[in-house]
Structure formats: C-alpha cells, structure tokens
C-alpha cells in the first residue's frame, strides 16, 4: 500500500500535528518506506488466529465505589498554563 499526500494531511489532522507544505513530500516518502517495511507481515498466515491485545491473562479486578479525592482543585490546576476562577482557560472552542 502506498499513501498519497492527501492521506498524509488527513493523518496529520487526526493527530493534531501540522506538517509544513514543503515537508509533506518528505513525510509521504518516509511513510511509504515504513509501510512498505511493515508490509512484511502480510506473508504470515493468520487465518484462525485470534488477535492478542494484551499478554495479561487476568480478568479485570474492580474497585470499591468510594470517593477518595476531595476538593483538590489546586492540585489539578497546579500545572495549568492558563487558569482563571478555578477553571482551565483555553482559546475559544469553535463549534
């Protein structure tokens, strides 16, 4: 599979990254090299093989329904680049 410029732009958009116009071709080229390389997997017969998403064989252990953190807004906001009145502040969300 090879990918075109439009796909590179779309992937950048989904990743919330910007690629300079003059770097797109380079990115596309690199992308294709990598995809070409991982293409190797198509050699492997995986019929009837279940995907493995985790080596963890335990099932999920749940926790009790208890409240631990209380009123720690100061800790939550401690690293905020911009905050006001106890809120994180960001440039306007465009809907």
């Amino acid at each position: 599979m090879t990918i075109d410029k439009q796909t590179v732009n779309r992937i950048a958009f989904l990743s919330h990254l910007k690629i300079d116009e003059n770097k797109i071709e380079e990115a596309q080229d690199e992308f294709n090299k990598i995809l070409n390389w991982v293409e190797k997997l198509s050699e492997v017969n995986t019929d009837n093989v279940e995907p493995l998403s985790s080596v963890n064989e335990n099932s999920l252990v749940c926790r009790e329904d208890i409240v631990i953190e209380k009123n720690q807004a100061d800790k939550i906001l401690a690293n905020a680049p911009v905050k006001e009145y106890g809120y994180f502040v960001v440039p306007k969300v465009v809907e």
Partner: protein, 485 residues
C-alpha cells in the same frame, strides 16, 4: 580503597550498616561525581538538596537501627517516572516545567524503602528511540571511551550511562521494546525488564501500555535482584498489575544451574550477525554448559516478524496515549486563535521528530480502512510470537541470546539517522520479549575488540524472573566483566 561511588548497592549497604561511612558522606560523594561528569548529560535534573536532607533521615534511621531495605542508596530516576514535586518531562519539550502532584508507584516503593533520589535521568523523548538522541535535552554520551562520543543506547540511556559512570548506585528504567536491555548492553551494566504486570505502571508516562514495563538498571545481577524486590508488587491502581507474591529474587543467586535447560533460538543468529557478538554468545553458552546446564536448540519461527509487529502496535498505542498532551492542563502551550489551532501549534512544536513520526504511524494503522490490514494483523502475529515462546518453554527453562546486534555507535551516526528503520533494527533481539510480556535481563559479557561492552540477554518464562537471575549470576561470575572505575 575503592571509591564509594564505585561500590555496588549491597557493598554500600554493608558499609552503611558497619558504619564505614554515613549516608550523608555517600550522597556527598555522588553529588561531587555528578558535577564532575556533567559532560555525559546523563541527568536532566539534579536534586542534591533533597538528596542530602533524605540522607540525614537515613543516617538517623541507621542510628536507631530502623533502616529499611534500601536505606541511603542513591538512585537516579528515569524522567519518564512522575516524581511528586520534582519536574518530570519524559525529556519532551511538551512537558516543559511539569511538576507532578503525585508519585509513581515504583518510585514510591523505592523511596519508602529508603532509596534516595539524586535526580532525573535523560532518555529518548517519551521513551521512543534507541540512542537517546531524541531527547529534548540532547543525547547522553556513553561513558565508555567518552572521547569517541558514542551513544549510551536508549531509551533509558541516561540510566545506563549514570550507573556505568558511577553517578548513581542504580537507576530505574522502563522497557517497551528493549529500552532497559539495549542501553545496559551499550554501557556495560545489568538491567532487567520484568514480566509484564510485575511492576506497577501507575505514574509512569505511558508510551505503549500493553508493552511498557519498569525495571532496574544496576552494577550487577545482585543489585538488580535487590531493586526488583522493592520495585515489584501488586498495585490496585494499575489494573494490569499482577496480583502475585514477589519472591526474594536474591535467594536464587549462587544456586547451581545444573540440569537447567538453556534454549538457543536459531533465528537469533541471522546471516551477517556481528562475529564478535556471535562469539560472545557462544562464550555464554559455554559458561552455562560448563556449569552443568543443558543446551537445547529451539525455534522461534516468527522472530523475523517481531519488529514490524512492534512498530505497528507500539505507535498505535502511543498515538492514543500521547493525545493528552494538548497544552490545556500542563506543560507547554503554544497559542492559537482558537482551541484546535492551539492544540496543533502546541503539539507540533512540543513533540520531537521521532515522536511525531510514531504518532502519525499509529494514527494511520488505527484509522478506518487500515485497521484490519495493519493493527489487527499485527495483533494476530503478536499471538503467534507469544505462542512461539510458549512452545519453546516446553523444551527449555530460560533462553540465551545476544542483547543487541551492535555495540554502541557514534552520536549522529549517518547510517542510523538516514532512515528511521535502520535505528529500529537495533531492537531486533529485544522486542519479541515485550510482545510476549516475558522477563528478560541483559548483562555484560565482555568488550569488543575496540573496547566497547557487549551484552547477553536471558529470557525467562512468564513470572519466572528467578531462573533468569539464577542463570545470569552464573554467567556474571565467569565473565568477570570489569566495570568502569
């Protein structure tokens, strides 16, 4: 007399218990050494004041006879671990100035056992890299033949270099595809990636959640075992952590390997494997054979697909794990006229090239229309790779391989940098272990002809670090590798 900073953890603990020196003296020695060796760029943040005040507490405890398991041991902490009140950045620009209000479970275990934090160690940005060159703070210089300006390996390059250069007694590392073992090999130190689930991932900035695992890097096998005793354990805050008892890993050290079956996978000796490395592998085999172990040829037929599988799965998870770095709640913010542009500007400027590359690959392999061909396919091959190990371990107890196909290479190496895949090929012997979730240790076996350390890797069954340690101790004893002074 040997310098304090050259001592292992168990030697230092002995000295402290026997009042040969105080913790404050130890810490002062290390702080001095750290200053001298700043050109290595191993630390991205030094915390001498807190270290000294902790040292006083440790001395108090020794005085009262209330010392804990690692009382007074100076440790370096990989910058991927969140340390409460101490800047933690994963060596990424995007986490500029981030000061966690919480402590990772692994470092909490270390510090509550008396370990002392000397500072935060350099690493590849978000643990993505094999040479420490992707760090926002610049590469670490390998302390071996420092004038040659070689890489320390990665991603835990700062950890391995600091241990080798005696500017911490031991360090924490993390390993997603070889990030503990490969730099350990490059720097002539010992490191273990335990079984997935052995150490809690809580408070460690996630790279690829199904692969990431913390472990120690130390001066010898015994120190690794000692540290893992403290670092490991069930943590309810990590749903993937294993609710199993942690054995005392030091107990098996010195036990015989007589009758132990050592698996040698044919696929790890590809055509063109570096001859020196091949020869050292044979030396390792010979040591174990002479000690009474049985050598068994095994097959791990899907080994050749491990890298491609890894470079689909790890970026996929990373693309999602790194979505939270958006300039809203912490770290760098680069403004934009509206929210989406602020996100994009922040991420574009905040992430380095390799990280962006992996985020984009990960985004691509998960996206509609490609998921089945890449991500799902990789997950299926992952199962085959894991099943290879399950089968192999029916024939043997532990597997011996080289750690890395090369010794340390120069910083800025042209071949390594002209194509990302060349760098990734360095992980060829290490990634399968992460895909299968197994424990694996790297220890130095000797020096190359031009004087650089080379390592061997021991791979164990799931949650059988003990056999790994047992075999490693035997090799270590015979290899008589000389650490840097």
């Amino acid at each position: 007399m040997t310098e304090i900073t050259q001592l292992t953890i168990h030697e230092t603990l002995d000295g402290l218990k026997n009042k040969k020196f105080s913790t404050v003296e130890v810490i002062k020695e290390y702080i001095k050494e750290m200053e001298v060796k700043r050109s290595l760029n191993a630390y991205v943040l030094e915390t001498p004041e807190t270290a000294l005040s902790q040292a006083k507490e440790s001395d108090n405890r020794y005085f009262q006879g209330k010392e804990r398991r690692l009382e007074g041991i100076p440790l370096g902490i990989k910058d991927l671990f969140c340390t409460k009140g101490i800047r933690s950045t994963a060596c990424s620009h995007i986490l500029d100035g981030f000061i966690p209000q919480y402590e990772s479970s692994v470092t909490a275990n270390l510090f509550s056992s008396g370990g002392i934090c000397l500072g935060k160690l350099n690493m590849d940005e978000f643990a993505m890299g094999g040479s420490n060159e992707t760090s926002y703070y610049g590469p670490v210089v390998n302390p071996w033949q420092q004038n040659r300006n070689l890489v320390a390996g990665g991603s835990s390059g700062g950890s391995a270099a600091a241990v080798a250069a005696n500017i911490c007694a031991a360090a924490t590392g993390t390993d997603t595809g070889g990030s503990i073992r490969q730099p350990s090999s490059f720097c002539g130190v010992t490191g273990i990636k335990p079984t997935y689930g052995r150490c809690s991932r809580y408070g460690i900035m996630a790279f690829a959640s199904s692969l990431d695992q913390a472990g120690p890097i130390a001066k010898d096998v015994r120190d690794c075992a000692l540290l893992l005793n403290v670092m490991a354990g069930y943590d309810a805050k990590d749903s993937t952590s294993a609710n199993l008892p942690v054995p005392d890993f030091t107990k098996v050290l010195g036990q015989s390997v007589k009758g132990l079956k050592i698996g040698i996978p044919a696929q790890y000796r590809p055509d063109g494997l570096n001859e020196e490395i091949s020869a050292y592998w044979d030396k390792g085999i010979e040591i174990l054979r002479s000690a009474g172990a049985e050598i068994v040829d095994i097959s791990l037929p899907h080994t050749q697909y491990a890298l491609a599988t890894y470079y689909i799965i790890a970026p996929a998870e990373a693309s999602s794990n790194l979505a939270r770095y958006d300039g809203v709640r912490y770290g760098l913010r680069v403004d934009g006229d509206h929210l989406d542009n602020m996100y994009i500007n922040t991420r574009t400027e905040g992430f380095g090239k390799e990280v962006k590359r992996r985020i984009m690959i990960g985004t691509y392999v998960l996206s509609a229309g490609y998921y089945d061909a890449y991500y799902l396919k990789a997950q299926k091959v992952r199962r085959l790779i894991r099943d290879d190990f399950i089968k192999a371990f029916k024939q043997c107890d532990v597997i011996l391989t080289p750690t890395s196909p090369t010794a340390a290479f120069p910083i800025g190496d042209k071949h390594m940098n002209e194509n990302p895949i060349n760098m990734w090929l360095n992980d060829i012997f290490t990634v399968s272990v992460n895909l299968a979730g197994l424990p694996a240790l790297s220890l130095p076996i000797g020096l190359s002809a031009d004087g650089l350390p080379l390592g061997l890797q021991l791979i164990g069954k799931s949650f059988d670090e003990e056999t790994v340690f047992r075999a490693a101790a035997v090799i270590e004893k015979e290899a008589k590798f000389e650490r840097l002074k």
